[in-house]
Amino acid sequence: MNDIKIRIENLTYSYGDKVALRDVTMDIPANAITVVFGPAGGGKTTLLRLINRLNDLIEGTRMSGRVLLDGKDIYAPGTDVIDLRRRVGMVFALPLPLPGTIRENVEYGPRLAGIRDPARLEEIVVRSLTQAALWDEVKDRLDTPASALSGGQQQRLCLARSLALEPEVLLLDEPTSGLDPISTGRIEETLFELKQRYTIVLVPHSIQQAARVADYAAFFLMGELVEWQPGDLLFTNPRDRRTEDYITGRFG
């Protein structure tokens, strides 16, 4: 097993009275794709949003337990949240280009981080777009509006935008849910490349996708972590009855 990048300990989280996560404990290994899957309302998105503290601004929530990144509690007082979010990038289900051109979208994060040198920015744009498998399609029109791209291209642009910050962890919340099979295949191939360098946590949009890409898989049901283990084991030989029912399509 690889090194542990993220450790989640006894994490319980609720929005008002609604409990979203119930006493979750799991490890997320470095340089691998960890798939978090299960039926809707299982707490998958909440888990992802807690790893980069995106839920900080929501009022009326309660949390107990710890989230450790490289052994450090990210909810400890004095944590630099902005820096954390640069280390832990996130891509959402809906591709959402910022207003502006393709280049501006990719440069946005690095510029916020204080990078101004044009040569350096250019290098980042080329590298990120190449990593996101978008470079060949947009290299001639970097200065056109990002909103003119197709849905699949926009999603890869969002991926490139996250990669531009060279994060250590990449959180992907159903990144292919709105895409056709070809674009989906492209993004999955990209993920295989990326996992050499990054730690990836993915909420897949189908069980098939989960089985295709998972190095490790965690099955969530109504806020509870039912089981987690290496992907090839979980999908061929699940330990829990509920996991088996779900992946064989008996419910959900």
């Binding site: 980069n52 995106l54 601004l57 009022e59 902005i82 820096d83 979010r85 640069r86 990038g89 996130m90 959402f92 809906l94 959402l96 280009p97 910022l98 207003p99 946005y108 994060g109 916020l112 981080a113 509006p145 990002a146 909103s147 003119a148 969002c158 935008r161 996250s162 910050l165």
Partner: protein, 295 residues
Amino acid sequence: MHPRRWTEFAIESLIRVLGLSSIGFVLLIFLFLLKEGLPAFLQVPPENLLGTRWYPTFDLFGTLPLILGSLLVTATAISIALPLGVATAVFVREVAPGWAREVLKPMIEVLAGIPSVVLGFFGMTVLAPLVRETLDAPTGLTAFTGGLVLAYMALPTIISVAEDALDAVPKSYRDAGLAMGATQWQTIWRVVVPAARSGILTAVMLGMGRAIGETMAVMMVTGNAARMPTTIDSLFRPVRTMTATIAAEMGEVARGSTHYHVLFGIGIILFVITFVLNLVAAGAIFKKRRRGGLR
């Protein structure tokens, strides 16, 4: 079955008649404006109409000082109200805690209900002396004072509409900004406000419409001297707007005289200016939408 069909028919016709008649009224007003105003452009030679001197008693109908006066006061008002209004909207929607938003929003909307004559009175008795003393000017009734009062009048509209526009920006936009390591302020400035751009533009156009058409408050605080606002200090000198001219002179003009027609002619000019402004704004919004994606 039959009586039912009859009431259905009656209600439908009633609604149709009401709807068509309101369109009809607007059309009639417009035709009346054209009928009374167009003769001005025929009776008065263009070089007189576009002249710089407005002395109706000597048949000098130069509308240029009035047009420029209106534009100067409106531009002043908008350049004060726009940053203030958008900043307030951002504060109310993005920064203020939930309970403060619930209190602030209705309070701001109530401000829009203050009658303009009350604001004019306030401007005349409080603002004008203040402007006179601070600037050590001969009079406090200036274009700047008018701009201040108009800015105040346009603010509630701008804040309220801009706040609605910000409110309509999906939460996922904020997430996307924050997830890239932007601070809350950077997210608001770079993601949320641009995404609400067309709504904010609408807010400004509505505010501008209110400002350029406003009569009473402006008449009370701008001093009403029909001078060309072309010198640098014009902002702090009296001006006269198109609306104030019509309101002030319509009462004492002989019906059917050239002066009478010219006043209506000014009305047409005002109408055209407002119309063009709206067209430009609508065009900008439309173009933005055509480019797709963010509105």
